[in-house]
């Protein structure tokens, strides 16, 4: 690990990066900053440029223009230093099914130039972390999708990186496994100051991030903390159930944006900080049920891109593909 850089320096600095594949624009004038120890989510529909950006950060591709500094090293001038300080969890399974969990990790350690005893202790540590210690000698082909993913995360952490890149890390996994994986990652973040950069489709995962960057068609269209983005680009709603028709008509008269959304239900946009106290003082005692819906990222994303966050068909296809890829590796 390189530690000579100043703590104030961001983990990742991207300034005016552009990338083209032939005539197709993959990234255009992308600038962002990821502070150390944070969890950063890169959000965007398929083909928005998330993977391209990851490739540039991981020194797999060279940007046509702009400057990229990762862990204090310029990706063009010191790609090896950059590679030493990052860990990568790919969207596609990339474990060797014929080898055991331990052998996969050992291989990774060798490739990262780790000496034998460092490999052994790191193997123990990361297997412990992802709760796979008991499976260390099992061949990876006997693993479930979730176990493989956990092992891949363990592998990416093996050489003690400063920054972990996770490309759609939980696609095709059930909610429980997703939760477990995030527990491991947050744990590493808090104990070791690991910086996370994630691309994902799952709204719950985005919500966990400290900072979100929404990109579409190769451009950054918004960034901020989840609450910022929701505040700025999403709308909260109040759903109220009132049995008496006169109350319902009074609501509709008072709030011109309110709409009837059920047999006895009316939904009202809850804009502004003073809305809720004011509403409660007026109508609070005369309603059967009040439900507050906080502003969502989904709504914010819709507002910004004109698309839903996760094109459902798309997401499912992807999940199947990922599962197929994993299953196909016999």
């Amino acid at each position: 690990m390189t530690t000579q850089d100043t703590p104030a320096e961001p983990a990742v600095l991207v300034q005016g990066v552009s990338l083209r594949y032939g005539s197709q624009i993959a990234l255009e004038d992308v600038s962002l900053e990821i502070s150390r120890g944070s969890s950063f989510a890169l959000l965007g529909p398929n083909g928005a440029g998330k993977t391209s950006l990851m490739s540039v950060l991981a020194t797999l591709r060279t940007a046509d223009a702009g400057r990229v500094v990762v862990a204090g090293h310029d990706v063009n001038r010191a790609p090896r230093k950059v590679r030493e300080s990052i860990g990568m969890v790919f969207q596609d399974a990339s474990l060797d099914d014929r080898l055991t969990a331990e052998e996969n990790l050992d291989f990774h350690g060798r490739v990262y130039g780790m000496p034998g005893n460092a490999r052994r202790s790191a193997t123990d540590r990361v297997l412990e972390l992802v709760e796979l210690s008991e499976w260390r000698e099992a061949p990876v082909r006997t693993f479930s999708g979730g176990m493989k993913r956990r092992l891949e995360i363990a592998r990416a952490l093996m050489h003690d990186p400063e920054i972990l890149f996770l490309d759609e890390p939980t696609v095709g996994l059930d909610a429980q496994t997703r939760e477990r994986i995030w527990t491991y990652l947050d744990n590493e973040r808090h104990t070791r100051g690991l910086t996370l950069l994630t691309t994902t489709h799952y709204i719950e995962e985005v919500d966990r991030a400290d900072w979100i960057c929404i990109i579409d068609k190769g451009r950054v269209i918004a960034q901020g903390s989840p609450s910022d983005l929701k505040q700025k680009h999403g709308k909260p709603y109040l759903h109220v159930v009132a049995a008496l028709p006169e109350i319902r008509s009074a609501l509709l008269d008072t709030y011109p944006d309110a709409r009837t959304t059920g047999p006895e239900q009316i939904s009202i946009p809850a804009d502004g900080e003073e809305f809720v106290p004011e509403f409660l003082s007026r109508f609070g005692s005369r309603l059967h049920e009040i439900r507050f819906e906080a502003p969502t990222l989904e709504a914010a994303f819709l507002n910004l891109t004109g698309r839903t966050l996760r094109d459902r068909a798309d997401g499912e296809r992807e999940a199947q593909r990922a599962a197929g890829r994993r299953a196909g590796r016999q």
């Binding site: 090896r80 399974a93 060797d96 990774h108 060798r110 490739v111 990262y112």
Partner: protein, 269 residues
């Protein structure tokens, strides 16, 4: 040169992985045995009587060896060719399944990754060549320990060159299915057109040769590098050369270098 040790560890790691994969793949091991069995035990034994001397002064096989002895080095080369070029599958496989990417984002330089892989493939191929050597007694090929060592060193050189060649081929094939074609379009044609299963009379001039075989076949055999590769191994194992051995050795050595750099150019793109 403090960077050297980690790179060496990386090369060793990649090599080790190839060895583990190769030795755990029972299908590949079985192929490594079944080929020599088919070629030496079935084809060799089947054809041997037809190349046998029957009348003193009449010649069926122009070489001072029996057919099994003649075929034996060629079967080793065939086994090496198959394993080396089959190794390209693992490169395609790694590309398809992201394993290559995992290595390519590591600090290991690309040439070191390729070197580790090729050394692994070459070791496996040499191993398959050694499996055939075990059958030496069957073919009535007697070997001294020095000859065995020479043969193994040469087999490794040949394996290295062919493995790099396999990786170059793999760079041209974009899908798995494409590989099955290799065996029919590359391995077998090269093998058969190399004087591996039938001899060119070493005492005959080119003009005399085309009396026995059609001109085009002789030409094909003469331009085929495998002809010279097999010839060197024959020189080592049964002491017989149809061509000066430095031609084959030079070709193999050049192949190691040229194919390695060609493979490096296409590797990991």
């Amino acid at each position: 040169m403090t960077d050297f040790l980690p790179i060496l560890r990386g090369i060793h790691g990649v090599w080790l992985r190839e060895i583990m994969r190769a030795t755990r793949d029972r299908g590949q091991l079985l192929g490594g045995v079944s080929r020599p069995l088919i070629w030496l035990l079935i084809l060799g034994v089947g054809l041997n009587p037809y190349f046998r001397g029957e009348v003193f002064g009449e010649v069926r096989l122009v070489l001072p060896y029996n057919y099994l002895q003649f075929l034996f080095p060629a079967v080793i080369v065939l086994n090496i060719m198959y394993t080396s070029i089959q190794f390209a599958v693992s490169v395609i496989w790694d590309r398809e399944f992201g394993f290559l990417r995992e290595v390519l984002v590591s600090p290991m330089p690309r040439w070191a990754v390729l070197l580790g892989k090729v050394l692994g493939g070459a070791t496996a191929a040499t191993g398959h060549g050694i499996l055939v050597l075990i059958l030496a007694r069957f073919a009535d090929v007697t070997l001294t320990p020095l000859e065995v060592v020479e043969a193994i060193i040469y087999m490794f050189m040949l394996s290295f060159a062919l493995t790099c060649f396999g990786v170059v081929l793999a760079g041209k094939v974009r899908s798995f299915e494409g590989f099955g074609v290799f065996s029919n379009t590359v391995i077998l044609p090269l093998y058969f057109a190399s004087s591996s299963v039938f001899p060119l009379d070493p005492s005959l001039t080119r003009t005399q040769l085309v009396v026995t075989y059609p001109e085009w076949l002789v030409a094909l055999i003469r331009v085929n590098p495998i002809t010279y590769a097999v010839d060197v191994l024959r020189g080592i194992l049964i002491g017989f050369n149809q061509f000066p051995p430095y031609i084959g050795l030079g070709l193999v050595a050049a192949g190691m270098v040229v194919f390695f750099f060609m493979a490096l150019r296409g590797f990991g793109k």
